[in-house]
């Protein structure tokens, strides 16, 4: 095993741990909606929510880095250049996140001054981490970029997948710099902030997960390089064609010029079209391979990703993407429902499949299957689908009573928060959130313990990489 792959295992463990922190603070945040005075003046809802959404970003980013450190030496046939530096930055990354989490939990907030921005909280959603930590993340990404580019140069071999990865490194580092913006004009600030949230998370990361999934498909299904590279190029083309201007749907109602309503609505309406093709591709691959794989959980999770991405991003997103609907749904639990489903479908399912790839290799079994992963799979999916349905109910109640009937006044907001439809959705969300948390625990347990002993079916004909 390459040193880079050992580093990847550490990244995967860290990612899985912060995944758990995200779930914990997600359940806690959900409780505040039912018990608004809970932990009053002890631990604020806003801090709980920050920990929930920031750890989401962090664990996925760690998972991506882990997956790339895992596959890159295999792809280029050599150890990563600058591996020592990468190992150091891993610890810098983990310790920084722990310090920031500690500050969020114990200090929580400060006065509106430079000190708070540098050492407590930058105050911008998703990138609340204080400025010193943002510099740390930039350093981690720069070292990671150096690792990828220097290794490709040294190997004198650049595959199509590595080309896409190297080009994606430019926005991965460049767009993140927007986290340092400090504009006091709310509209201008939000205008650039959406570059960070949409371009970085929704576009740059889409390409990154596409690269990772290309490797996983070759690994667990034996899909040919030519096929996965063809689809990767199509994905990049779609991101450039529709994804970038799809940014416009975030520019509704933040003080941007009116033409963004047309641009955002138009390009967002195009987004389900490629997702339809993706559904066909997933069914085609599953059918042609007839479930032949040496890693059943990774295979099922990667197939699930295609379908849940379609429903979470496609169906849930399309419901509220046109400006006339979005005027009412923007910022309600409806958006939260879409956000949960889209993130889960687009990234979480893919990362779990990577975890199982790493588990198989490290545990040295030729065929990975069993019952435990099925429990985790069932609980996580049931929990997520239940949560997003519950949030949709609450969000529609908000859009209906607070926005459309009540006219978005403060009184209407308060009345909607006490509406039985809204509250029943919030209660259901907690119940399904608990199911999701149980699924996480089962997933963690399954990944940690030895694989179950199962017989490899006779039809399995895809040979895994030799286990060590």
């Amino acid at each position: 095993m390459y040193r880079s792959q050992k580093l990847a295992i550490r990244y995967c463990i860290a990612a899985m741990t912060f995944f758990g922190v995200m779930v914990l603070f997600g359940v806690l945040s959900a409780l505040y909606y039912i018990y608004p005075t809970m932990l009053f003046e002890t631990f604020h809802f806003s801090t709980s929510k920050i920990l929930h959404i920031d750890t989401l970003i962090i664990w996925l980013l760690m998972g991506f880095l882990g997956a790339i450190y895992w596959y890159l030496p295999k792809e280029l046939g050599r150890e990563i250049v600058g591996i020592r530096l990468a190992e150091i930055t891993f610890w810098v990354f983990v310790v920084s996140v722990l310090i920031v989490a500690g500050v969020f939990i114990f200090v929580q907030y400060g006065q509106a001054n430079e000190f708070s921005m540098w050492f407590i909280n930058q105050g911008r959603k998703y990138v609340e981490a204080p400025r010193w930590a943002a510099i740390g993340i930039t350093a981690v990404l720069l070292v990671f970029s150096y690792n990828v580019i220097a290794t490709a140069v040294k190997a004198e071999k650049i595959t199509g997948i590595v080309w896409v990865l190297m080009i994606d490194l430019v926005p991965l580092v460049g767009v993140y710099l927007d986290a340092f913006d400090n504009n006091t004009n709310m509209s201008v600030d939000l205008y650039w902030w959406w570059w960070l949230v949409h371009m970085w998370v929704e576009s740059t990361w889409e390409v990154l997960i596409g690269v990772i999934m290309a490797w996983v498909l070759m690994d667990i299904m034996g899909t040919s390089r030519r096929i996965v590279e063809s689809w990767l190029y199509i994905e990049v083309m779609l991101v450039l064609g529709a994804g970038i201007l799809g940014l416009g749907h975030h520019y509704f109602w933040i003080g941007t010029p009116q033409y963004w309503l047309s641009i955002g609505g138009f390009f967002s309406a195009l987004e389900p079209l490629p997702l339809l093709g993706m559904v066909v591709h997933a069914v085609y691959d599953a059918g042609m391979h007839r479930m032949r794989t040496h890693n059943r959980p990774a295979y099922i999770w990667i197939t699930t990703e295609a379908f849940l991405n379609f429903i979470g991003a496609g169906v849930w997103g399309f419901m509220m993407t046109l400006p006339q609907i979005n005027l009412f749904s923007h910022g309600t639990q409806w958006t939260v429902s879409h956000g949960h489903f889209a993130f889960y479908g687009a990234y979480v399912c893919g990362m779990i499949s990577v975890f199982y790839v790493v588990k198989q290799r490290t545990s040295g079994v030729n065929f990975l299957d069993g019952q435990r992963w099925k429990w985790a799979y069932g609980l996580l999916n049931l929990g997520m689908v239940g949560m997003v349905m519950a949030l949709l109910l609450s969000g529609m109640a908000q859009a209906f009573y607070e926005r459309a009937i009540g006219g978005s006044t403060l009184m209407a907001f308060t009345a909607a928060a006490e509406n039985p439809w809204f509250l029943s959705g919030m209660y259901a969300r907690i119940g399904f959130g608990a199911i999701f948390a149980a699924g996480y625990l089962m997933l963690a347990y399954d990944l940690l313990v030895k694989p179950e002993k199962v017989q490899m079916p006779a039809v399995q004909n895809i040979q895994p990489e030799a286990a060590e």
């Binding site: 040919s224 030519r226 096929i227 063809s230 047309s262 609505g265 138009f266 309406a269 195009l270 389900p272 079209l273 997702l275 339809l276 093709g277 559904v279 066909v280 591709h281 069914v283 085609y284 599953a286 059918g287 042609m288 379908f307 379609f310 429903i311 496609g314 169906v315 849930w316 399309f318 419901m319 509220m320 993407t321 046109l322 006339q324 609907i325 005027l327 009412f328 749904s329 529609m396 859009a399 209906f400 009573y401 459309a404 009937i405």
Partner: protein, 96 residues
């Protein structure tokens, strides 16, 4: 837009894409398993999607431009699964 129209329009838009996705999934499944009936059910799903687009065009307060876009989208849905399928087959045949 009234409160009732808001929910009705949003749900129809969601159903439009969901029916389109069901068409894509059933079309591909029917082709994989060589079951024409499944492809046929998939095509029925497309009809549902198109019906949603027509309803959105005639019975909702969306602006004319959005109505046109939804109708054109629903029409484009019909060709995506067969085109994707043909491309996939060609790609895999070349490979083998």
């Amino acid at each position: 837009m009234t409160a009732d129209a808001l929910l009705g329009t949003a749900l129809l838009m969601g159903l439009l894409v969901l029916a389109g996705g069901s068409y894509a999934g059933l079309y591909a499944l029917g082709r994989v398993r060589s079951r024409p009936a499944m492809v046929w059910v998939g095509q029925l799903c497309w009809l549902v999607a198109f019906g949603c687009a027509v309803l959105l065009a005639v019975a909702t307060p969306l602006d004319f431009g959005w109505k046109l876009l939804l109708l054109v989208s629903a029409i484009v849905y019909v060709v995506i699964p067969p085109i994707t399928w043909r491309y996939l087959e060609r790609l895999h045949i070349d490979e083998s």
